[in-house]
């Protein structure tokens, strides 16, 4: 029996963002939201571990009221219960502050657990901070960049990728693991699962319920401030050859010679 907590982020679908090259800005209008890509791998892994070893999976998300939608999807995939950490005071928290909110929720409400799983990075902020910071705040060991997890009795054996190769490490519960996207292929919930997700327990906890001082979270509680969002600029020549690929390729070869690129 393994008690698993899995953290996911509810994000704007970046493939739906429109880029306004004219004023170099991003248009968020009408963009859909989703579970952050690699967090689906985290959820999938949590569910697989439960299916194999017994236990339960609790999904945690710090987000807006709209995040309920993603929470339902996580429940449909197979999480047993959802905990949405939602409060206007949480808005604009930086990654370390977000981790502190999750950590406080776990300490206050779910102190008994074996495994915390996050992804290595979110699709929107891409900081890769929340997982390691959460492990540190909880004061438990952590294993990052996991590409394979095996659970036996009271411990995990994990393959993790580092620059020089693959490490195999082992750790007793409780432990936090950040997973890489290559760890699995997330499932699509069936229609029946989607319909029965509505019956699963979904609680909302605000700052008060978690005994969080609003001054320590959100913009004022955060050390990192995000100011402007811009579209990266480029100053390339953009000489494009079209037509038959063979002809275009020949023109390209000539251009490369003229530039002195080929010797």
């Amino acid at each position: 029996m393994v008690e698993i907590l899995v953290c996911f982020k509810h994000v704007i679908d970046e493939t739906e963002l429109k880029i306004d090259r004219g004023n170099n800005k991003i248009n968020f209008e009408g963009a859909k939201t989703k579970i952050s890509d690699d967090d689906k791998n985290a959820i999938e892994e949590a569910i697989r571990i439960k299916e194999k070893n017994g236990g339960s999976v609790t999904a945690l998300c710090v987000g807006s009221a709209d995040a309920k939608k993603s929470m339902k999807e996580a429940l449909a995939m197979g999480c047993d219960r959802g905990r949405l950490l939602v409060d206007p005071a949480f808005q604009d928290s930086d990654a370390i502050t977000t981790a502190s909110i999750i950590s406080q929720a776990i300490k206050k409400k779910i102190p008994k657990f074996d495994l915390v799983i996050t992804a290595t990075g979110s699709t929107d902020a891409l900081t890769g901070i929340v997982g390691p910071s959460l492990g540190e705040s909880l004061g438990i060991p952590q294993i990052t960049f996991a590409s394979k997890i095996a659970v036996s009795a009271n411990k995990v054996t994990v393959d993790r990728s580092v620059e020089e190769g693959l490490e195999t490490v082992e750790c007793e519960f409780p432990v936090l693991i950040t997973v890489s996207r290559e760890i699995n292929q997330p499932r699509f919930p069936t229609l029946i699962q989607i319909m029965s997700a509505g019956k699963k327990e979904l609680l909302e906890w605000n700052a008060q319920a978690l005994e969080i001082d609003p001054l320590t979270v959100g913009k004022q509680g955060s050390k990192i401030e995000t100011n402007a969002l811009n579209v990266p600029k480029s100053a390339r020549k953009r000489i494009i050859f079209e037509g038959k690929p063979e002809d275009a390729a020949k023109q390209l070869a000539e251009a490369m010679f003229k530039e002195g690129l080929v010797k």
Partner: protein, 319 residues
């Protein structure tokens, strides 16, 4: 934390530490200190890192640091920070660096900026740009006061020269980690690394199957190039070893010529090749973002264009 000043740099890979030292020099923000952490006398590393601009080397040597496990590394860095009192701690964005930087920041109760581009320091504030939203946007971020920053690999030259920094031995209270290293499989190293290559030819998801990558062999050898790849081909499909991945979570390359074949040009990829001198793209989708980011482009099927390009180059070279 008031009298914080100066810069401390650290990476678990000494080669990367040299890159961070170059960045530290550019920032000109007081003392430039280097943390050397490991087991044994660490003399090799200390002499290797005694390069121009380095004022202090803080050394922590302890047996529990031999396996590069996160916790004792963070303990050691925390001890170094309480001696050196840096305003900015710059960590190389290796996998281990990506773990220890947020952990250190959380312990020190300071800010953390990961994958920082265009890092600057002014008036006690650290500012940088970072890619967000799947890389479609650049965010400007600032941090008040002390900050831990991670820097993408190979985005700076290695520092050179020699100096006689003060070597300060720091004794740290290290608790062994509960995470035990059972084994390690080294990745076979390629002959030429892409980060030093003059010409890089990279393959992307436009290739339909692994065998088709051999289509590039002739082009690569004609140009004396090194082959790179986009992330789908490395970590997702496993067609190409990870050390050849170009981009945000791979390597930054700065060749004279970069040829992107069947690569759409998502920003995470562009980040890794943006400083290439000349960029060439082959893609059958006229609207692929790579065409906004290239000097020369061919709109067309790579299966037709690549062999023709190879032939045309060979005939011009007279080979």
């Amino acid at each position: 934390m008031s009298q914080q000043q100066g810069i401390l740099v650290y990476s678990d890979l000494p080669e990367v530490t040299l890159e961070l030292i170059t960045l530290g020099q550019k920032l000109r923000a007081g003392n430039l200190s280097v943390a050397v952490i490991g087991s044994g006398d660490l003399q090799d590393q200390i002499s290797k890192l005694s390069v121009d601009g380095v004022t202090n080397i803080y050394k922590v040597s302890n047996d529990s640091l031999s396996g590069f496990i996160g916790k004792p590394m963070v303990d050691a860095l925390e001890a170094v920070c309480s001696e050196a009192k840096p305003n900015v701690i710059i960590v190389g964005a290796t996998r281990r660096g990506r773990e220890i930087a947020p952990r250190l920041a959380t312990r020190l109760k300071i800010g953390c900026i990961t994958d920082a581009l265009n890092l600057e320091m002014a008036n006690g504030k650290v500012s940088a740009e970072r890619l967000v939203w799947g890389g479609n946007a650049l965010a400007s971020v600032t941090s008040k006061g002390a900050t831990v920053v991670t820097i993408p690999l190979h985005s700076n030259q290695k520092a050179t020269g020699s100096a006689q920094p003060n070597v300060v031995e720091v004794s740290a209270n290290l608790n062994p980690s509960k995470v035990k290293l059972l084994g390690k499989k080294e990745r076979p190293q390629g002959q030429v690394s892409i980060k030093d290559a003059e010409i890089v030819v990279s393959a992307g998801r436009g290739f339909k199957k692994k065998e088709d990558l051999s289509l590039l062999d002739g082009l690569v050898s004609t140009l004396h190039a090194v082959m790179g790849a986009s992330r789908p081909l490395t970590s997702d499909l496993g067609w190409v070893p990870e050390e050849r991945q170009v981009g945000l979570s791979g390597t930054t390359v700065k060749p004279k010529l970069y040829i992107a074949v069947g690569i759409s040009g998502q920003i995470q990829h562009l980040t890794g090749m943006r400083d290439s001198k000349v960029v060439v793209a082959i893609n059958n989708d006229k609207n692929a973002p790579i065409f906004q980011e290239c000097d020369y482009g061919v709109v067309g099927d790579l299966y037709a264009a690549v062999p023709t390009l190879e032939k045309a180059l060979k005939s011009q070279l007279g080979s």
